[in-house]
């Protein structure tokens, strides 16, 4: 691990943490940061490179970079963004840490908008959504103006705001949680920093994992309603041919969702340096102080994640079956209905327990423990759900066909 550069800003308010794992082709965000409408000493830019590459893409803007740290992980080790977040949090000098895309455009008031939001709202985690344009003629990045990005080819512009911001049905899937997340550094350290669990290795991860645990801590999640980032198309933006940890089918980590559901605040695997920062006040950081667990060098090796040409799918740690939580200990397997885990029902602990020496035996015992008439109900409910969903989709299809036909008649 080594610093290419170390920040000499005395007391910045904001630290922007930008990541690279030897893949970024453009860091044009740095150019937009040079045009901000506030004193340059009020923010610093921290670049964290996972491997050892000194990126040529940064060179044109290196005056804008305050700290530049190479983690020097071995090339055969898969990337883990959360480790980079932790390095950024540890290195940052600002009160507010901003984890954001390094290949996006921002307007002149971007940093000011973040500072104003934190000044007026204590205990928040702030997100800024992103307009995305799919036009391939804007690649390689050619400095389009903002109207071009929100105009033709923009996939999420709804009346001047992003579709995600307007959405109140399923924001978790429709907003871009990875675009820009801002939180106080002290809060990030208080929740143990980003989780370095192997479930977050590769593409299925993001600052939303921090957001969820900050919400569990009692912070309010705010999405800026007037400030946005602007992103143009580039190859590989959807994480093609990446290792994927456990996710919900729409690339949101189930481990992060479990943290949100269970109300967990601390990470499953805490970084040693972050723990020291949390427990000891006067930790001074140099290149040697940021600790990376030696176990990662083995556990995150690419060859351990591949089966032939394909990545091995990440398995979820959550074990659920028909509404039962399945636990494994030295005595064997134990299952209980999920509601028993709630404090209000703690007096019933053990009442509905089902045991088994092996997992198949437990599942068999569980199946037999459910009364026969309820076992009949499950396929009926599943069939009714299928029919109603199929019926709903057919109606939607007909509705759209009719609308198109009507448009054709009018034309």
């Amino acid at each position: 691990m080594k610093f290419i550069k170390q920040s000499n800003r005395a007391q910045p308010k904001v630290s922007l943490i930008l990541l690279d794992w030897s893949v970024r082709e453009s860091f044009h965000l740095l150019d937009y940061l040079s045009r901000q409408d506030l004193d340059r000493d009020l923010f610093e830019v921290v670049i964290i490179e996972y491997y050892s590459r000194v990126s040529d893409a940064i060179r044109p803007f290196d005056q804008q970079v305050d700290s530049w740290l190479l983690l020097e992980m071995p090339e055969d080790c898969y990337y883990h963004k959360h480790l980079m977040y932790n390095a950024g949090i540890a290195v940052a000098k600002g009160d507010i840490c901003v984890i954001c895309d390094s290949d996006a455009m921002v307007k002149e008031g971007f940093i000011n908008a973040i500072i104003r939001e934190f000044d007026s709202n204590p205990n928040i985690v702030l997100h800024i959504d992103q307009f995305r344009n799919a036009r391939k003629d804007l690649y390689p990045f050619c400095y389009p103006d903002f109207a071009q990005v929100t105009g033709k080819g923009c996939i999420n512009n709804v009346d001047g705001k992003t579709r995600g911001i307007m959405d109140d049905k399923d924001p978790i899937h429709n907003r871009n949680y990875g675009a820009c997340m801002c939180a106080r550094r002290a809060d990030l350290i208080a929740i143990g920093g980003a989780d370095e669990h192997i479930d977050y290795l590769g593409h299925i991860c993001g600052p939303y994992e921090l957001t969820f645990r900050l919400v569990n801590l009692g912070h309010r999640e705010i999405w800026h309603q007037s400030e946005f980032m602007y992103h143009t198309w580039h190859p590989g933006q959807a994480g093609e041919d990446n290792y994927l940890g456990p996710h919900d089918g729409r690339h949101v980590s189930t481990t992060a969702l479990d943290a949100l559901i269970s109300g967990r605040i601390m990470p499953l695997v805490e970084n040693e340096t972050i723990r020291n920062l949390r427990l000891i006040d006067d930790v001074k950081l140099d290149a040697q102080t940021f600790r990376i667990s030696p176990a990662y060098l083995h556990d995150w090796r690419k060859e351990n994640l591949r089966h032939g040409q394909n990545w091995i799918a990440g398995n979820t740690t959550r074990k659920m079956w028909h509404g039962f939580v399945v636990n494994h200990n030295i005595d064997g397997y134990r299952a209980y209905p999920r509601f028993i885990g709630h404090p209000d029902f703690s007096q019933y602990t053990g009442r509905f327990d089902v045991h088994g020496a092996t997992e198949p035996e437990l599942l068999k015992n569980l199946y037999n423990s459910i009364p026969f008439r309820f076992r009949l109900v499950f396929p009926v409910v599943a069939l009714l759900t299928f029919i109603s969903k199929a019926f709903g989709l057919s109606l939607l299809y007909l509705q759209r066909r009719l609308a198109r036909l009507a448009q054709g008649v009018q034309a």
Partner: protein, 122 residues
């Protein structure tokens, strides 16, 4: 073609749900069945939060078939729907049960509710 693919996917989902591979709506039913067996004094103050009218209708059908007791059901399809329930139904302390699906969809509001009321997330 796109819609037929989606219908096919729902069919596959049905098959996996029926064989217990996916914890869908049945997760809620199983837990409600066991809660009803406890014959808790809180039964009348129990509110089930779901995210579609389909699930609400299925719960009603299960009550009609005498499989489950009748519960207060809040259908929260959009963030604003929660406010209207909170304004009208908050008489005393409630015990609420929500599926993880509805919780993650509206976690900003429900996490706040979790701090104020007893909320079980399945």
């Amino acid at each position: 073609m796109y819609y037929w693919k989606r219908i096919l996917r729902r069919w596959l989902q049905f098959r996996s749900e029926a064989s217990g591979l996916v914890t869908g709506f049945q997760l809620l039913i199983v837990n409600l069945v066991y809660i009803s067996q406890l014959r808790s004094s809180e039964e009348n103050r129990l509110v089930v939060i779901v995210d579609s009218w389909r699930e609400a209708v299925l719960l009603w059908l299960l009550w009609a078939c005498k499989v489950l007791p009748r519960y207060n059901v809040w259908v929260i399809r959009r963030a604003g729907h929660l406010d209207s329930y909170v304004k009208t139904d908050f008489d005393g302390e409630l015990l609420m049960i929500a599926t993880s699906k509805v919780f993650t969809k509206h976690y900003q509001l429900l996490a706040e509710l979790r701090r104020q009321q007893r909320l079980i997330i399945l």
